[in-house]
Amino acid sequence: MFSLSKPILSPVRPTLPPVRCGSRELRERIKTVQTTQKITEAMKLISAARVRRAQEAVVSGRPFSSNLAAMLNDITQRLQNDDVSTPLTHARPVRTVALVVVTADRGLCGGFNKSVIRKALVRIEELEKLNLGCVVISVGKKGNSFFTHSINKKHPFVKVDSFIEIGGFPTAKEAQVIADDVFSLFVSEEVDKVELVYAKFVSLVRFEPVIQNLLPLGEVCDVKDEIFRLSSKEGKLAVERDVVKLKKEGEMCFPLMEFEQDPVMILDAMLPLYLNSQVLRGLQESMASELAARMVAMSNATDNAVDLSKRLSVEYNRERQAKITGELLEIVAGAEALAEND
């Protein structure tokens, strides 16, 4: 004998916004999200590996910088009595400034490109208020496309001198192209000051857009080479930034060292090398910052994909249960109807 009272179902409040699509679309959506998660995770791992390569590039460049700085210090000390001036160290009244803006070639690295471009724009506006001219040398595809399409509308006085694309890890050749451009602009007095806008590598989760003065060259002080080391701390990727004071390799120098040529010529030969190393350093830091930013962005994207996949699975299962429950209710109602007729 069946019970005569019908079951009363209390309405279940949805804790999530309802998904308005069928089961099939929902299932396909879950697959898509999981595929995206695999892609973003792979990109995260690739970026982590390339950060290490960027670190090695910086470390391998240190002997050059170390020896160059030591020699420059030594020679400038010897020439202190003489009033020596070369084109690259000549400071003159500033009427035009050149900005070398270093951005990435690809996106998917969080706010990296936008923050560097914003830093450059702020500087451009400062120069505009000071009634100074501005010339831009853009490095990287993202910066190139921005300065091609957007800059002339808001800041028509800005002249874009050249676009440079590196497309990979920066080497001395790419730095040479930029340094040559900067050199010719400065020596021909088209610009009176050159600044480098790039993202300085701070840690794996942070970078800082900075503006570094390139020309005229100031006094070369002791070189403190901050290097970053990628390490595994408690199973997670971590970075430690050391300040390494490079040893002075010129300390063993004989006091009677001869100069084969006039000291001015020697300085003329050394300073372009120094300029090149400064540019290369900026490019390498920018590359490391870009890779770290991409690693963080892809890590966040992976986490978001996992959360979204779980949520969609819950919705899918809930919809399946609702469907099954509906069918069960129909069967029970039919059975009760038959029972009443007996």
Binding site: F64, N67, M71, A172, C253, E258, E260, I266, A269
Partner: protein, 123 residues
């Protein structure tokens, strides 16, 4: 950065702005500008030849430190590519107009010629 160090059996030749210089053991300490030219190092009965693209060198304490913008070993240079680059550079020099273009074309020509010479060094 290139360092060559062997106190008893080494020699080297450098192209400087004021001509080529040879460096033997116990050379006097000097600092010199490196022109676009060829660096040759003799070490253990073998000559190593490199094309240098300008820079700076320092000789001190039986040690030579050469800092250059760019350097290529003779074994790394492709002969046909180098020869072709030289022909192109010559043609560009003939077409160059204006002082700046002439200077740049001249520089490219010297670089290309140095790479060709690095391959064809008689040793």
């Amino acid at each position: 950065i290139r360092e060559a160090r062997d106190y008893d059996h080494w020699r080297s030749c450098l192209s400087t702005n004021s001509g080529q210089i040879g460096v033997l053991p116990n050379h006097a300490p000097i600092a010199t500008v490196i022109d676009i030219g060829i660096l040759r190092i003799h070490l253990k009965d073998q000559w190593l030849t490199m094309a240098l693209m300008g820079g700076f060198a320092r000789i001190n304490n039986n040690e030579i430190i050469v800092l250059v913008n760019d350097a290529e070993k003779d074994s790394d240079i492709d002969p046909q590519d180098a020869q072709q680059t030289l022909e192109i550079a010559k043609a560009n020099l003939n077409k160059a107009e204006g002082k700046r273009q002439t200077i740049e074309a001249n520089l490219a020509l010297r670089r290309a010629r140095t790479r060709v010479e690095a391959i064809n060094v008689i040793s």
